[in-house]
Structure formats: structure tokens, C-alpha cells
Symmetry: C2
Subunit: 364 residues, 2 copies
Amino acid sequence: MKFNRVLENIKIYEAGKPIELVVREFGIAPDDVVKLASNENPIGTSPAVKQAIIENADKAHLYPDDSMFELKEALARKYRVNENNIIIGAGSDQVLEFLSRALLNENESVLMSGVTFAMYEIYAKQMGAKIYKTANYAHSYDEFMEAYTMYRPKLVYICTPNNPTGDATRKEDVLRLIEAIGKESVVVVDGAYMEYAAAKDAKYAITPKDLLGYENVIYLGTFSKAYGLGGMRVGYGIAQPELIDALYKMRPPFNISTLSLAAAIAACGDDAFVAESIALHQEQIQRYEAFAKANGFTYIESYTNFITYVFDETMDSTQIADALLKRGVIIRNLASYGMNAMRITVGTAKQNDVFFKHFSELLV
Amino acid sequence: MKFNRVLENIKIYEAGKPIELVVREFGIAPDDVVKLASNENPIGTSPAVKQAIIENADKAHLYPDDSMFELKEALARKYRVNENNIIIGAGSDQVLEFLSRALLNENESVLMSGVTFAMYEIYAKQMGAKIYKTANYAHSYDEFMEAYTMYRPKLVYICTPNNPTGDATRKEDVLRLIEAIGKESVVVVDGAYMEYAAAKDAKYAITPKDLLGYENVIYLGTFSKAYGLGGMRVGYGIAQPELIDALYKMRPPFNISTLSLAAAIAACGDDAFVAESIALHQEQIQRYEAFAKANGFTYIESYTNFITYVFDETMDSTQIADALLKRGVIIRNLASYGMNAMRITVGTAKQNDVFFKHFSELLV
């Protein structure tokens, strides 16, 4: 069998280790495993979402409303946009896939920051497109424009706040970049962690409506983080109808399950849960900042629900991550991103206690 | 913006009308609407699945185990294959998408029967591949081999039982076709409705293991029909590891939600529910056969959970479907498939009563 040649170049995305695997591999009791690796909401599932799931538990045999009328209406109200500006994906991931498949091919390229969300690259490779990255993880105007001018990429990714580094780009800088990029390129503003940035500093807050004036820009959002629906796979893209309609052509029918749709509709109105998530986060992240300072290493100022610790040559992120894993603490080593760093989801007070206890013992 | 040129040629899949839409459009009370259009399991959600969903309702914030270890283990046990023979998709639909993206391009073609599952064509068009169909909906050896010899398609689809017609192809005929097709083509045996065919007549029963001896053949199965998980979007492909590994390169991470995974694991062991579904179906389909005979039109012998009524020129499927819809009865008109026919999911006794009542009144 001969497969399409793009397959030769594809690396499979490596998901964070699930708790079950650590239990099996290291014989640690499930209750002693702390997973701070996948930026899941540490508060858990919101009561409103849990209720919606239970109420719909006997509807598993029924296909969802494929028009997603109710969810789009809720999002349109929330962001003051129209329903025809919205496409729903199985996570904002799937909207990235639609974008890549609608726009990329072997003659096109994509541009992104030096360290950013891994799926941009994977979907581009699936389409055989060339990949250009700036030198740094921060979204520098000069670096982006130098590469843009040279390569004329079809897709430009601005991940703000950025994952897996946690930094963000100010709204005025994002708009400046958008203004400088030609209309023949599509700019993706990936705001998966935007709720955390907006709550921390208004200068970083970007809403879909801020970008709708640009026909070649799409805003991506997700229910996976602040809304606590990581396991349900619901995200969205918001843009002008011409772009949305093109993405629809790549959307498989029923791309959201019946229960995911019900959960997202419930989550959409659940502002109190989001506020609670952010409040916990803002309180607990201070402990992570203080811990770094007390132990002599640095961190990247975070606008997300995680923090990235950056080490000098006296410490090795791979060794630390492995040692923590054997103790039942799962975090994300960033060695595969070319950084001597690790990304830690800011957990509950109790989860963070466990992390600090084990990491302190390793540092002795 | 310039999109990939394949988009120009793509028609969006038209899902069956959801009950909410009929309620809104025709002002019919929800309880009076009967939907027999999407081949959903009329018994509903199995109690074991409902229980699994409720038990996992507070895990919506947690990403699923992306290795899908437990589900693959259950499927491997069920079908006596290995875990590395299995890929899980968001419905078997998504496995069709992986196949199309791994194998098709603008220089390749696909071959399928004259009337068959619509997504084969849609995914082929997304890849710019040429589409060849045989003259008839039945999978004729001669028609397939004539087209195969002429066009050398990269993908050959055998949908058995066939959707939306309900007919099936005998195992010996499927194997004869597979033997005649060269190894450079991949043959897809889509068994989405296989549980119904196998229960009706052993000559039509095909298991994944029957096909594993052929490196270029993949069996597709789903939890959407006999297992009652249409809304959860879980299906699978079973083949030799070389093919499975290639499809994995097109799989996005976390392509099944946490609750869908839990539901599928529960469903996999729920043989009693499948048996109950089939027993109800076998009892109720006799009423549909008798109704057709009593009213002077024909049907296609069904090996699925639906039945296809075929009309002569004195009746018009579009008029009938529209008239039924206004009465709150949703069925699938097959005019868009070039047939003066309609597909009706065999429902519960009560649902079928409603269908016969309204259709009888229209026939007067």
C-alpha cells in the first residue's frame, strides 16, 4: 500500500500521561497521584454541567442537533456576534484542523512563534505545508513581520496567551500585527486561555468582536479550560461568514456528541464557575511564583492557568520531571520544545501542596 | 482569501431534521413528533451506559486516556484481535475520514455502489479524488470488477449491510471481491449495521477476524446502532497494524470525549441490550413488510435496523415525506439519492403505530 507522502513526515502528538498509567507503571495508589500536566480545571466539573450531563444521560442513543442552534445562540449572545460567525469544533483543535485543510497544501506555509501549541505544526504537516517559526516564544512584531515578508505564509498563528509558555501578547500588539499582514493570509488568534489573561490585565483582553472587522482573522476559544470541559471536546471559531462557510465544508456531521453539546450549553451560562476558577488560580499561582524565587530559578510571567518554570544549567527539566513522576506527580517537561523548562498546571491548594512537598525534597 | 480548490466541489452533508426543528416549524408538541429518520436505537440508552455516564458526570473537566487502553482491550477481546489492530474514531465516520486523508489525493479515485453511505463521497471530494459508482445499489461482483479494472481505485467501499437501502452482501461474495482486488487498493468493509444482518442470516455475518488475513482490508464497526450510542460518536476500524498506524497519523488527540469513552466501554460488554434491540427489531419489521404488501408497494429486503420502501410512478417519495413531516413523522426521503423511495427506522411498537396511522391516512 502506498500512503500519501505527507504521512512520512508526521509525528504523533504525545498526550500527557493519564493517571491510570502512572498507577500501573509505578504502583502508586490513585489517590496519591497528582496530575498537573494537562491544564485541566482543578476545581473539577461545574455543578451545572454535571446536572446537564445527568439529565441527558438517557439520550446517548440520539444524534445531537447538528445545527447546534442553542449553543451557537448562547455564544452569539455572549460575544455579541451573529450565529453565522460561529463554527463549533471538537475542541478548538478541530477548528485548527478545518483551517489547515481548507487553506494549506504543499505550496503553502504557516508562521508561528518559536515555542507554541504543538497542533499548529502537526496539522500543517498533515497538509504538507512548510513551517516557519520565529526565534522566540514571545510574539515579536519584528520577528513575525520579517518572516511574513520573506515567506508570505498562508496561515499566521498568534497564540495569546501562549501555550506552553504562559506569556501573552497585548491587544494593541496583536492588532498592529493583524494590520500589517496582507488579506491573502489568514491570522488565527488562539485565545484558549483568554479568560485568565483578561482577568489579570485588561491590556491583554481580546474578544472575538475586536477582530470581526478583519475578514481574514479568526478567533478561537474553548470550553476546555476556564469552563472546565477539557474531557468534552468543545471549542469554537468566530470570524466573518465567508471564512466560517469554508471551514464548514471540512466539518464532519455530528462533530460534537449529544452530551458534549448539552454540557457546553450549560457551561456557557455558568459565569460564576469561571469566576471561581480564576479566583482560585490567582490565589494559588502566587505560591508558585514565591516557590521559584525562594529556590533560585525563574518562571515566565503567566497569563494562563499554568506556570512555566525555566531552569539554568544547574538543573535539568527531564531529570526533574522523571523524578516527580516516580513520586506520582505528573507535570509537563518542555525538553521536547527545546526548553530546559517545565509547565505546571496550577492546581487546588491541596494538589499544589503535594507538588511543593515533592519538588522541595528533590531540591535538597 | 483563496481556499484550497477542492472546496469548490463540496456539498455539505444534510443531517436528518432534529425533533426541535419540527416542533418549531410546524408547531407540533414534542411528544407528538416521531423521528424514524436517523436509525437511532428505538429502545433508547442502555441502563448500563446511562449508569456509566452518571458515574462519570463529574469527570467532564478531565481529558480521556488518549491511549483508549480499556476500550481497545474490550474490543480486542470481543473480536479476538490484538489492540494494535484497532483504531477508535468519533463514529466510524471519522475512520472513513482518516482513510480518505491517508490514501486519497487528486490523482486517485474511489469506487462504491450506486447508492450507499453519503460520507464516502464527501470525504473523497474533500481530497479531490475522483468518484466512481456502480449502476446499482447492490454490490455486484461483475459491476465492481468492471469498474475496478478500468479505474484502479485506491479505495473500494463495500457497505454491508448497505445504507440507505438495507440490503446486504453475502460473506462469500465479499471475500470473492476482496480476493480479486489488487493489494495496492484498500478495501473498506463497512459493517455499521452488521449486528442486524448477522442475527438475521449467518451467510451475511462478517467479523473483523474474517478479514485480518488481507493486509489491504479494513473492517469498520460502530457503537451508534445496535449498541445505542448514536449521540456519543464512537466507532472503530480493525485491520493489520501497517494500515492502522498510517491512520493514526491523521488522528487528532482526544478524538473521543471522556464520557463517550466511558459509555463505549460500558456498551461493549452489554450483549443483553444488543440482543434486546435485535429482538424488538425482528418483531417490528414484519409489520413494515406486511404494511407494504397490504398497500401495494415494494420494499428492499432489510438486513439493518431500518427498511426502505420503494414506490412506483403512482407515488412520490418527496410528497409523502413532506406530508408525513407536517404530521410530525420524520423519515428519510431518498430522492436526493436518485430513488423514489424512503428509508424508515424501525421504531418501537408505539412509534410504528404512529407511522402506520399517519401513512394510512395519506394513502386513502
